[in-house]
Amino acid sequence: MSSKINVYLIEYALGSIIRQGHKSLFITIVFTFLTALLTSIFFITNSIKYELNTTVDALPQIIVQQTKASRVTEVDISITDKLLDIPGITSVNARVWGYYYFANAGVNFTLIGIDEFEEQYSDTLEGIVKKGELNSSGMVIGSGVRKIMNSSYYKDYFNFIKPDGKIKKVEILGQFESDIELESNDMIVMSKDTLREIFGIEESKATDIVVKVANLEEVGTVALKIEQMFPNARVITNDDMKLSYENIFNYKSGIFLALFVIAIFTFFIIIYDKMSGLSSEQKREVGILKAIGWRVEDVLKEKFYESLILSLFAYILGVILALAYVYIFNAPLLRDIFIGYSDLKPTFEISFILDFQTLFLVFFLSVPIYVAATIIPSWKVATLEADDVIR
């Protein structure tokens, strides 16, 4: 059998598509929409995953929290010395951080304390802060926090309400750069002492403890040792967080996939219905083609070209629309499912990643299936005798 492309068959297939006008148009629209929807979901999920995976290695290797009655409580700083006795641990850092609810705007800021803007932190901060001189009495804020504060007329400082009802005025020193908006939008970084005052955390307490291990292979063993040493502690490793990310996004994209499965099944039912019961007109067409000398394989080739042109066109169009929708228009509507309901929403500008896996997945989920759904019923008719079909 010759595998050469028969141009005449392609021309006939094109003619057939045009003859079926409305039907072809309807299938193209539905196909394009479904491809665009599915591709958009995968694009969003992949970009967010990429964003998270970029920074996941910078996260602490082990985080130790204290629990009491299964509630997370403040951790006693004195346990840091005991932790340092465990072989393999190179450094232990007690962190102070938490959420500050700003009732006026109904949002939670994330406040993080660092050690008095020590030199090492100053260098880091200089790299990521847009402007401002850093000192221990002020704070650096994310762009979302800046907007919220501006709307409440806090331009140069902010008044935090302490647990005792008194006010703590903190000067705004600078703002994080827009490059890190996705990470820093709701963050406020200040000195640990100021934060302790705002949250009313004693000197001997901390929010949690960050542990660094020299050998990455030993993280699991060290975590186990910490758990055994402090049965009440909740020990979270970097791998747990990675796993958690996977769960989150599999869950979120799973919701979409469930919707998509329903949509695609409807699509297949329409295709099946259309093709299994080839209209009498289409049957007669196949019959006439056979009567004038077309072989079964010619008919199948023509149907193949017809379905391939239609589905490939819709697929490419769908991918183009999805790329524009996600990366140029920042995924209106769909993004709300990912970003929640906060007033502290950052601009949802996710990084562009060309994921060939996604493109292949969507391709094989749509184009070959449509082609098969077109060819099989045609084959059934084409194998019948011409006069039987026409009659």
């Binding site: 910078a58 750069e177 990470e183 042109i309 990912f338 906060s342």
Partner: protein, 100 residues
């Protein structure tokens, strides 16, 4: 090639061209630069907090691992029990409301 074939050929070429242009444009303007990546790593290294800020009020993403999750986010028990069964032990405000 007849007129229809030519039009189809041009149409597919146009689509291909749009796709390639779009990918090149997005790659140059919307992909993460090495500088931005470095800043992100610096920031996350500084704060040590995971997750992205666009989900600060979403129960399922922001800092689930690092706070009093049962209080702030009623849906999640804790990091390692992230499945549907976790919701059972969560303080369900929905259930309370339906019982009223």
């Amino acid at each position: 090639m007849n007129k229809k074939s030519k039009i189809t050929f041009y149409l597919f070429s146009l689509l291909g061209l749009i796709l390639i242009t779009q990918v090149l444009y997005l790659n140059s303007s919307k992909s993460m630069s090495a500088d931005a990546k470095e800043k992100k790593v610096l920031f996350v290294g500084l704060t040590g907090l995971p997750d992205l800020a666009f989900s600060s009020q979403s129960s399922y993403i922001r800092h689930r691992s690092l706070s009093m999750t049962s209080d702030i986010y009623s849906l999640d028990g804790c990091l390692r029990e992230y499945d549907s069964a976790t919701y059972v032990i969560a303080n369900s405000k929905i259930v309370s409301k339906t019982n009223e």
